[in-house]
C-alpha cells in the first residue's frame, strides 16, 4: 500500500499544488490553469474555516444566513470539481513497486486508496479499538468488536426514540406532518362539495328557496319594510295588495271593484288618483293647461319622496269615513283652492277671449244614452241632470261676475258660499246614488262612449279635466273658460261618474294589458295603479291622454309604465327601467307634457297646475261616494223617464254656449 500510495499521492493531491504539467495537448492546455485552481481552492478552504469558526463563536445564527453561506461554498466547490475533471486525465498514477503479487490487486488498491490524513485517522482509531484485545486470538477480537457494535446500535436506537417523542411533545414534527393533514377526508370533502352546490345554486338561481304555493304560509307579522312597501298594516299580511301567484282576474268591466271588504278605501284612493290624473288634461283651452304642471308637482303620494307635506295635509280617503270628515276635508281643500283661484282668474281673464273651447261637435253622451239599457242606469242620469241644472246656473252666474270684473275677494266669498251649498247638495245626491249605481251598466255606457271616436275621447278628456274642478266646489269656482264647456262636460262627468271609468273602458277594448291593469286595480294596489291603467289605456288607444296623465301625476312609475306599455309589451322592464327609474321625474314630466300636449303648454303651466291639483284633491269627496256607489249592489227600480231622457239628449245636442 505504501509504495503505490506515494505515487498516487502525487496524482491525487493535485490541489495542494505539486503541479507538474506535462502535456502536449494544446486544447487541454488552456484548461490546465492550475494556478487559478490553486487560488480558488485556497479561498474555498479559507471560507469554510471561517464559517466553522463563526459556528463556534457567534451565538445567534439564522438558518437563512447559514444556508446562504453554505450555498456559496457549495457552488464554489462544485465549480472547482468541474474544472478539475478534465485536467485529471492528464495525470496518471505510475506505480513503482510492482511485482508479481501486487499486480492483480493493484487496481483495487489504487481505487480505494485513502488520503494520508484519512489513513492516519484510521490507524489511530484501529489502535484504540484493538488496544485491549490485541493480544487475543482473532475470533475473540471479532466477537468483542461485534458486541461493541451491538451496544452502540442499541444506544443509537434508544436515542432516536427519545428524539422522536420529544418532537411530538413539542410539536416539532418533521416536514411530513402538514402534508398528511392537507388531504381532506374523502367523506368530508364530498359533504362539503354537496353543500357547496346547494349554496351556489341558492345564491345564483334560487334553487331550494322556492316555496310551492300550497306550502306558502303568510307570516303573522310582516316585517316593517315589507309592510310599508306593500301599503298594508304590519298585521294584515292577507291584504289584497299582498300578491303571490296569480292575481285574481277581475271582469274587464269591473270598476275598481274591491277584491276584499277591507280594501274599500283603496278604490277610493285609486279613484282619487285617477281624478287627479285626469285633471292633467288640457282643461278646455290654454287657460286650463297651466293647471297641469302644478298638479303634477303637488301630487301627494304617501311613500313617494316627491310628496310634499305642505299644501296637501289632507287626510287620505282611507281616513275619511264619516260625512263630517268628508266635509272637513272638503273645507280644507276649498281654502286652498281659493288661494289658487286668484292666480287662475287672472290668467283666465286675460285668455278668455282667446280661448278656443273644445267644442264637441256631436256629443257622444246623448247617443250613448240613447243606447243605454232601460234600467236603473238612467236613474243616475236623472239625478245627474238635476246636478247639471244647478251647475249650469252657477256657471252663468260666474260668467256675469267675471264680465263685471268684480273684486276677487268678493267673488271668492260668493264662491265659497255657493260652494258649500253645492257641496252639501252634491253629497246628498251622491249618497242617494250610492244605492242605485251599477258598475256594469256604467261601464257599458262608457264603452259606447269610447266607441264614438276621437271627439268622444276628447270630450272624455275634458270630462276628466272637469271632474276635479267640479268635484269639490260644484263649479262655483270654475274658471269662466270652463263655463263654455260646462254643459256638455258636466253631463259627461256625472254620467261617467269617475275618471277611472275612462281607463276601465279602455280595458274592454280587447287589450290584454288592459285586463292585466284592471286586474291589478281590482286588487287595489294603490294609487299608482290607476295611473298605470291610465297610461296603458292612453297608449293603446293612441291617445295622448294616458301619457299626459301618467306624466303629470309626477310618478316615476307612471312614466315607466307609460313608456313600457306603449312601446314594448314583451319585456318592458329591462329596456326602460334603467332610464325611467333613475329619471328626474320633474324634468321627464315637463318634457313629456310639452310633447304630448302638442306644445300647447304655456308658461303659466305651473301656476295653474297647482290649482288643478288642489282642485283635484277635492275629488276625494266625489270619489268616496262614488266608490261607495260602486261597492254597493245596484238597485235600480227601473225609473226610466223617456221625457227626461229626451230632454237631456236635446240639451246635450246644443252647442255649448260661448
Amino acid at each position: 500500500m505504501a509504495a503505490p500510495g506515494g505515487q498516487v499521492q502525487a496524482a491525487v493531491a493535485v490541489p495542494p499544488g505539486q503541479a507538474a504539467p506535462r502535456t502536449d495537448m494544446a486544447p487541454v492546455l488552456q484548461q490546465l490553469n492550475l494556478a487559478s485552481l490553486r487560488t480558488r481552492t485556497q479561498d474555498l478552504h479559507n471560507a469554510i474555516s471561517r464559517i466553522l469558526h463563526s459556528f463556534h463563536t457567534l451565538p445567534a445564527l439564522k438558518w437563512s444566513e447559514v444556508l446562504g453561506q453554505f450555498a456559496m461554498v457549495n457552488v464554489e466547490l462544485l465549480n472547482l470539481v468541474e474544472d478539475i475533471k478534465p485536467i485529471l486525465k492528464m495525470f496518471v498514477v505510475y506505480p513503482k513497486n510492482v511485482n508479481a503479487e501486487n499486480a492483480t490487486i493493484l487496481p483495487i488498491m489504487l481505487s480505494s486508496k485513502l488520503l494520508p490524513e484519512m489513513e492516519a485517522e484510521e490507524t489511530i482509531l484501529k489502535d484504540k479499538m484493538l488496544a485491549g484485545i490485541a493480544n487475543l486470538p482473532v475470533h475473540m477480537q471479532s466477537e468483542k468488536i461485534q458486541r461493541q457494535i451491538e451496544l452502540v446500535r442499541s444506544v443509537c436506537d434508544g436515542a432516536e426514540k427519545v428524539l422522536g417523542e420529544a418532537r411530538k411533545v413539542y410539536g416539532l414534527s418533521s416536514r411530513q406532518g402538514p402534508v398528511a393533514l392537507a388531504t381532506l377526508d374523502k367523506q368530508q370533502a364530498a359533504r362539503i362539495g354537496e353543500q357547496e352546490k346547494l349554496l351556489r345554486a341558492a345564491s345564483n338561481s334560487g334553487d331550494g328557496l322556492r316555496i310551492s304555493p300550497d306550502q306558502q304560509q303568510a307570516p303573522l307579522m310582516l316585517p316593517p319594510h315589507v309592510s310599508s312597501a306593500l301599503g298594508t298594516s304590519a298585521t294584515d299580511p292577507a291584504g289584497a295588495s299582498f300578491q303571490r301567484g296569480s292575481s285574481s282576474a277581475l271582469p274587464p268591466s269591473g270598476l275598481l271593484r274591491p277584491a276584499a271588504p277591507q280594501q274599500q278605501t283603496n278604490p277610493a284612493q285609486i279613484l282619487q288618483r285617477s281624478n287627479i290624473g285626469v285633471s292633467m288634461q288640457p282643461l278646455g283651452g290654454a287657460g286650463s293647461l297651466p293647471g297641469v304642471a302644478a298638479a303634477a308637482t303637488t301630487i301627494p303620494y304617501v311613500n313617494s319622496p316627491r310628496s310634499v307635506a305642505g299644501n296637501f295635509n289632507v287626510p287620505s280617503p282611507q281616513q275619511i269615513n264619516t260625512p263630517s270628515q268628508v266635509q272637513q276635508a272638503a273645507l280644507l281643500r276649498q281654502q286652498k283652492i281659493q288661494q289658487l283661484q286668484k292666480q287662475q282668474q287672472q290668467v283666465l281673464q286675460a285668455q278668455q277671449q282667446n280661448q278656443q273651447l273644445r267644442r264637441p261637435g256631436t256629443p257622444p253622451i246623448p247617443q250613448a244614452q240613447a243606447t243605454l239599457q232601460p234600467q236603473g242606469h238612467q236613474v243616475n242620469i236623472l239625478q245627474l241632470q238635476q246636478q247639471q241644472a244647478k251647475l249650469q246656473q252657477q256657471n252663468q252666474l260666474q260668467q256675469l261676475q267675471q264680465q263685471q270684473q268684480l273684486h276677487q275677494q268678493q267673488q271668492q266669498q260668493q264662491y265659497q258660499q255657493a260652494q258649500q251649498l253645492q257641496q252639501q247638495n252634491l253629497q246628498q245626491q251622491q249618497q242617494s246614488l250610492h244605492n242605485q249605481l251599477q258598475n256594469t251598466q256604467l261601464h257599458a255606457a262608457q264603452q259606447n262612449v269610447l266607441a264614438q271616436g276621437s271627439q268622444g275621447r276628447n270630450q272624455l278628456n275634458q270630462l276628466g279635466n272637469m271632474n276635479p274642478l267640479y268635484g269639490n266646489n260644484q263649479s262655483s269656482l270654475l274658471p269662466p273658460t270652463m263655463s263654455g264647456q260646462s254643459q256638455t262636460l258636466l253631463q259627461q262627468r256625472y254620467l261617467q261618474g269617475n275618471a277611472s271609468h275612462l281607463y276601465n273602458m279602455g280595458n274592454t277594448t280587447g287589450n290584454n294589458m288592459g285586463n292585466t291593469m284592471s286586474n291589478s286595480m281590482g286588487n287595489n294596489m294603490g294609487n299608482t295603479m290607476s295611473n298605470t291603467m291610465g297610461n296603458a289605456m292612453g297608449n293603446t288607444m293612441g291617445n295622448t291622454l294616458g301619457n299626459t296623465m301618467g306624466n303629470t301625476l309626477g310618478n316615476t312609475m307612471g312614466n315607466t309604465i307609460g313608456n313600457a306599455l306603449g312601446n314594448n309589451m314583451g319585456n318592458p322592464l329591462v329596456s326602460n327601467m334603467g332610464n325611467s327609474l333613475g329619471n328626474n321625474v320633474t324634468n321627464a314630466m315637463g318634457n313629456s307634457l310639452g310633447n304630448n300636449m302638442g306644445g300647447t303648454l304655456g308658461n303659466p303651466l305651473v301656476g295653474n297646475m297647482g290649482m288643478a291639483g288642489s282642485a283635484a284633491q277635492g275629488t276625494s269627496t266625489l270619489a268616496l261616494p262614488l266608490q261607495q256607489q260602486l261597492a254597493g249592489p245596484g238597485n235600480y227600480s227601473g225609473l226610466i223617464n223617456a221625457n227626461q231622457l229626451n230632454a237631456f239628449a236635446q240639451q246635450r245636442q246644443q252647442p255649448p254656449p260661448q
Binding site: 402538514p178 357547496e196 299580511p237 299608482t528
Partner: protein
C-alpha cells in the same frame, strides 16, 4: 357590466378572512343584511320571462330599496378562458313602493332570500383602476313569505365569498385581471371560481386561518 367570482368558505374561517381583508382593503367594513326578493313575470307579459331582483337593505335604520336586473353571462371562447364571469347588470335605487309596482306590472314572487354578512371594498390601480367589492355572506331561506325574522341558513357551515367589480365592454379583461390578482391574495383561505363552477374548500385553510388569527392583533370592529 360586472365581473364576478365566487367561492365558499367554512364558517369557522370567516373571522380569519375578515382579518385578511381588513389588512388588504384598509378597514371599512360594511355590514350586509339584504332581503332579496326575486320577481319573475308571468306568462301574460311577453314571450320571455323577465326576472328582477328587489333588494331591501336592512342594515341601515331606514330600509333602502334597490332594483337589480342581471343579464346573461358573456359567452364565447374568449369568455370561457376568463377566470371570472362577465355579465351585464342594471342596478338602480328605487322607492319603497316598488313591490306593489312590480306586482301591478305582473311580476310574481319567484323566491326570496336573506343575505347577512359583511363586505369590503378594495381599490386597485394595477392593471386598471377599479374598485372590487368583496362580500362574505350567509344565505338564509325564509320559510314563510317575507318573514325575515324566521330566516334559516341554507348551509349553516358554509359562507359565500363573492368578488364583484364593475366593468365596461372595453375594459372587462383588465377588470378580470384585477379580480384574479386579488383572488391570489385570498388563495390561502378560499378558492374562487366562476359562479357556476364548484371550487371546493382549501384544505390548508385551517393553517392559514390559524396564522391569521394568531398574528392578527386586530380587534374586530363591529
Amino acid at each position: 357590466m360586472e365581473c364576478v367570482v365566487q367561492g365558499i368558505l367554512e364558517a369557522k374561517h370567516v373571522d380569519a378572512l375578515e382579518v385578511l381583508l381588513q389588512g388588504l382593503c384598509g378597514g371599512l367594513r360594511e355590514t350586509i343584511k339584504v332581503h332579496e326578493i326575486c320577481l319573475k313575470t308571468g306568462p301574460n307579459l311577453g314571450a320571455v320571462a323577465s326576472e328582477v331582483h328587489l333588494c331591501c337593505s336592512l342594515s341601515q335604520p331606514e330600509p333602502v330599496w334597490s332594483v337589480r336586473h342581471v343579464g346573461g353571462a358573456m359567452r364565447g371562447a374568449g369568455a370561457e378562458q376568463l377566470p371570472a364571469l362577465v355579465r351585464p347588470v342594471l342596478e338602480a335605487g328605487i322607492s319603497n313602493n316598488s313591490l306593489r309596482f312590480m306586482h301591478a306590472l305582473g311580476y310574481k314572487l319567484d323566491y326570496e332570500m336573506l343575505r347577512t354578512g359583511f363586505s369590503f371594498q378594495m381599490h386597485k390601480t394595477v392593471p386598471i383602476a377599479v374598485t372590487i367589492t368583496i362580500a362574505v355572506t350567509a344565505i338564509h331561506r325564509l320559510p314563510k313569505t317575507h318573514s325575515v325574522d324566521e330566516a334559516q341558513p341554507v348551509t349553516p357551515n358554509l359562507h359565500m365569498v363573492q368578488l364583484t367589480a364593475p366593468a365596461s365592454p372595453d375594459n372587462y379583461s383588465d377588470v378580470v385581471g384585477a379580480i384574479s390578482g386579488l383572488a391570489e391574495y385570498l388563495a390561502p383561505l378560499v378558492h374562487l371560481s366562476k359562479p357556476g363552477v364548484p371550487a371546493g374548500v382549501v384544505p390548508t385553510a385551517s393553517t392559514a386561518a390559524a396564522a391569521l388569527i394568531s398574528r392578527g392583533g386586530i380587534t374586530k370592529v363591529l
